[in-house]
């Protein structure tokens, strides 16, 4: 790997400076400079990644004597390629999309500065560079989200985002200083090697240092990835331009998953932090997915969908499946970018054509209209739903990673994958066709292909990012040791299966309508609770207003001196 790779973060930064100083008045040239810089960064990142796969050696490039070092390891190179790829798409899309907007050239300069900062963040090899870049992402995002300065709402939501990000920066400051004081180095590789070689962990405030640092890093990741209860800002960031929404949902909110992976050596001896991550991720996944379903605004619904996905990503980290989180964030990034960037076309199509296409999936899921009653027999569908995913998933994982198969984290992950697969089959059965068997066979074949592909990719990805011993240590650290695997799985399985049974019965016997009639008050209260997004944003707003009032009183008392 030659030194050309170091140019990756500098190219967009230089082009931003060029745009702000020389090309400010020339829209076309500014856009070209911005896109070219990102395209070049993408190509160099790709070349560096390919070179790494051949040579297999990572190294640290030091630019300053204290900070400014870049870590060219597999994680950095993968993230560089991913971020530059997404950013290139967003840049190309923005060239025409933003043409009529004011401050066109400033937008591209900010976009390039943001991309450069993310490059520095994901490749930082020292605490100061990481801290600085992590901090700057929040600041730059504020200006990107508030691009349209005429709209007060845009400023308000950009402010929310900036404040939440700042709140999440603080634990990272804590983690950085604790690491520096304990291991007497700013260099991340040096710190990690000292953690690995320490016979027993150092203690701070009566707690093991890895536990303190791991928890602080996890909290920083929660704020960045919109995890409960620091999620309120995410659904409201849609007031920013669409390309910014795409970049944010595809490449910025998932920085939490990156942070977990960067600090993986700390988490190897910080089980508590991983358990917290699992719980927070689980709550966020459930809440995000539930709140997504009851939104009447499509973009806000996408925001909650991202929250749910980030919840799954955090859960994966909490279970010790760190490489899977990286794979997840990349897959989700491209998926969400395509959704956001395609939103304009979808709206255009809907306007051009009278009505929506008569698609069965659309009618059943979006319009929630009952479909024709031709279905598989209940017991056949139930057996397929329960048995097929568990057999396919277990075989796929057993075939590629026998050593990890018996870790608790893998068990729980398989369980969730089974639930998801079962849910997909169950939903497919509800769709119904004239030939339900044909539909079911098609879905099963797709399911098998997806599972095998996903398992192979995630396994190879893991082998690329971490040595096998590190993966095992992470899974081991994530194990609770309180409940045996069997008991844990039985409880979870009972919960989900009873959920399905209740859904089937309620569907057949019209329970939901009967319950709504009988318990109308609590039903409406619950509905209001969820539509007001758990009242969390109201609570934070009220607390903020109260504090501003106190501040004003203090100023009056001290006569503004």
């Amino acid at each position: 790997m030659d030194t050309t790779a170091i140019a990756v973060p500098f190219l967009p930064a230089l082009s931003a400076v060029l745009i702000l100083t020389v090309l400010r008045a020339n829209k076309r040239l500014a856009a070209r400079a911005a896109v070219s810089a990102i395209a070049l960064s993408f190509l160099i990142s790709l070349a560096a990644l390919l070179q790494y796969t051949i040579s297999g050696t990572s190294r640290v490039e030091t630019l300053g004597h204290l900070w400014g070092s870049i870590w060219l390891d597999p994680l950095s190179l993968i993230m560089w390629t991913f971020v530059s790829g997404i950013s290139l798409l967003v840049h190309m899309y923005s060239v025409r999309y933003m043409l009529e907007e004011p401050n066109y050239t400033r937008f591209f300069a900010l976009l390039n500065l943001m991309t450069a900062t993310i490059f520095f963040m994901v490749s930082a090899a020292d605490l100061i560079t990481l801290l600085g870049a992590w901090f700057l992402v929040g600041i730059l995002l504020y200006f990107l989200l508030g691009h349209d300065t005429d709209r007060r709402q845009a400023g308000r939501y950009a402010f929310w985002t900036q404040l939440t990000y700042r709140l999440g920066d603080l634990p990272l400051w804590l983690a950085a200083f604790v690491l520096y004081r304990t291991y007497h180095s700013l260099s991340l590789p040096v710190i990690f090697s000292r953690i690995a070689s320490a016979p027993s962990p150092a203690h701070l405030w009566g707690l093991p240092v890895p536990a303190v640092v791991g928890t602080a890093v996890a909290v920083a990741a929660f704020a960045r990835s919109a995890q409960f209860p620091l999620h309120g800002w995410l659904p409201y960031t849609m007031d920013g331009p669409t390309p910014v929404s795409a970049l944010m949902h595809a490449g910025i909110v998932n920085a939490g998953g990156f942070l977990f992976n960067r600090f993986a050596p700390v988490f190897e001896s910080s089980g508590v932090a991983l358990h917290i991550a699992f719980l927070v991720g689980l709550v966020s996944a459930i809440l995000g997915s539930s709140l997504m379903l009851i939104q009447n605004d499509v973009k806000r619904s996408l925001g909650y969908s991202t929250m749910g996905q980030m919840g799954f990503m955090t859960m994966e980290c909490g279970l010790g499946a760190f490489p899977l989180a990286i794979f997840h964030l990349i897959a989700h990034g491209f998926f969400k970018a395509s959704l956001f960037l395609g939103a304009g076309d979808a709206i255009g199509d809907a306007r051009a054509h009278d009505g929506v296409p008569p698609d069965l999936v659309y009618v059943s899921i979006v319009e929630r209209r009952p479909t024709r009653p031709s279905r598989l027999p209940l017991w056949t569908a139930g057996a397929l739903t329960l048995a097929v995913p568990v057999v396919v998933l277990s075989l796929a994982h057993f075939a590629v990673a026998k050593a990890l198969f018996f870790q608790q984290g893998t068990f729980v992950l398989l369980f969730f994958a089974w639930v998801t697969g079962g849910q997909a089959l169950y939903a497919a059965d509800r769709l119904t066709r004239t030939n339900p068997w044909k539909l079911m066979v098609g879905i099963l074949a797709t399911f098998v292909l997806v599972v095998i592909g996903y398992t192979l990719i995630s396994h190879d990805f893991g082998a690329f990012l971490y040595p096998p011993a590190a993966s095992t240590r992470l899974y081991h650290s994530a194990s609770t040791g309180v409940l045996s695997d069997g008991v844990l799985l039985t409880i979870l399985a009972l919960l989900f299966v009873s959920g399905w049974v209740v859904t089937v019965l309620s569907d057949r016997r019209d329970w939901s309508r009967r319950l709504a009639r009988r318990w109308n008050g609590p039903y409406l209260a619950a509905y209001a609770f969820f539509t007001r997004e758990l009242y969390l944003n109201d609570l934070f707003s009220r607390a903020g207003e109260l504090l501003v009032r106190v501040s004003r009183r203090l100023n009056l008392l001290l006569r503004w001196l």
């Binding site: 600085g132 402010f159 804590l174 004003r552």
Partner: protein, 256 residues
């Protein structure tokens, strides 16, 4: 006598309650340029005066209680700034919050030579804001934000410089105050990190409120001229110099 000297230094290198005098002097100094000069000179005079006092004569400054007072002062002024809409008041309250932290170098015996440079990390951006507030007052009759909507569309150059100066004041990475804050935290025991992190959070809140009033909304007042090219370039040069000096001498700023 030492007490008197200490109070005098506290008025110049502001720490609550003596900081009230520092704020009063800047408030009553006429014109933005005068305020800016006072903002840069007073803390430097304070550091020079402190340097002339033997450490042994002011044991209070080296106690835990003094660090508590300094942290409280920084937090108090940052908190007060969240409800301020006038640029020059915001600048001096935020500067008071940051400048007070420089006392920590003295409290931890980490060298008085650092202090003279570290105060510039907060005083220069604050001075720049005071100049901009003065120019805005000359043009529009006041530097109040949020009354007529965002100024970004009407006076983009003043708004840009004010935005960057505000960022430089609240320890944004690449500006000297970021590295100076790292240095301040670096010389303290880990226990003291909590109040300083709280200060950093409130700075972020205060900055968000300030920018929201400065930049967003449709302006509905009378139009007035923006800065000329020379003045804008001068401001940009000062800010660029701040960044360059911070990056080049970051080791000295951080003190590691």
């Amino acid at each position: 006598m030492e007490w008197l000297e200490l109070v005098l230094v506290g008025m110049l290198l502001p720490v609550f309650p003596a900081s009230v005098v520092f704020n009063a002097v800047i408030r009553w100094t006429p014109t933005g340029w005068g305020k800016a000069a006072a903002m840069i000179l007073l803390p430097e005079v304070g550091v020079a005066l402190l340097s002339s006092i033997s450490s042994a004569r002011v044991p209070l400054v080296h106690s835990r209680g003094w660090i508590v007072l300094v942290a409280f002062s920084a937090l108090l002024y940052a908190f007060r700034a969240i409800s301020v809409r006038e640029i020059s008041i915001w600048a001096r309250l935020m500067a008071t919050s940051g400048l007070g932290l420089v006392w920590i170098f003295e409290a931890t015996h980490r060298g008085r030579d650092v202090m003279a440079v570290a105060v510039l990390a907060w005083s220069v951006p604050a001075a720049l804001l005071l100049v901009l507030a003065g120019l805005l007052t000359e043009r529009s009759g006041g530097a109040y934000l949020g009354l007529q909507g965002g100024l970004a569309r009407v006076v983009p150059r003043i708004s840009s410089l004010a935005t960057l100066s505000a960022l430089a004041l609240v320890a944004t990475p690449l500006f000297p105050s970021f590295f100076a804050l790292l240095h301040v935290i670096g010389v303290l025991r880990l226990f003291w990190l909590w109040p300083l992190l709280l200060v950093l959070l409130v700075w972020g809140w205060s900055l968000g409120g300030f920018l929201q009033q400065l930049l967003f909304g449709s302006y509905s007042g009378e139009r007035f001229p923006d800065l000329g090219t020379l003045a804008t370039s001068s401001g940009a040069v000062v800010l660029s110099l701040l960044v360059v000096s911070a990056v080049v001498w970051s080791g000295a700023w951080i003190g590691i």
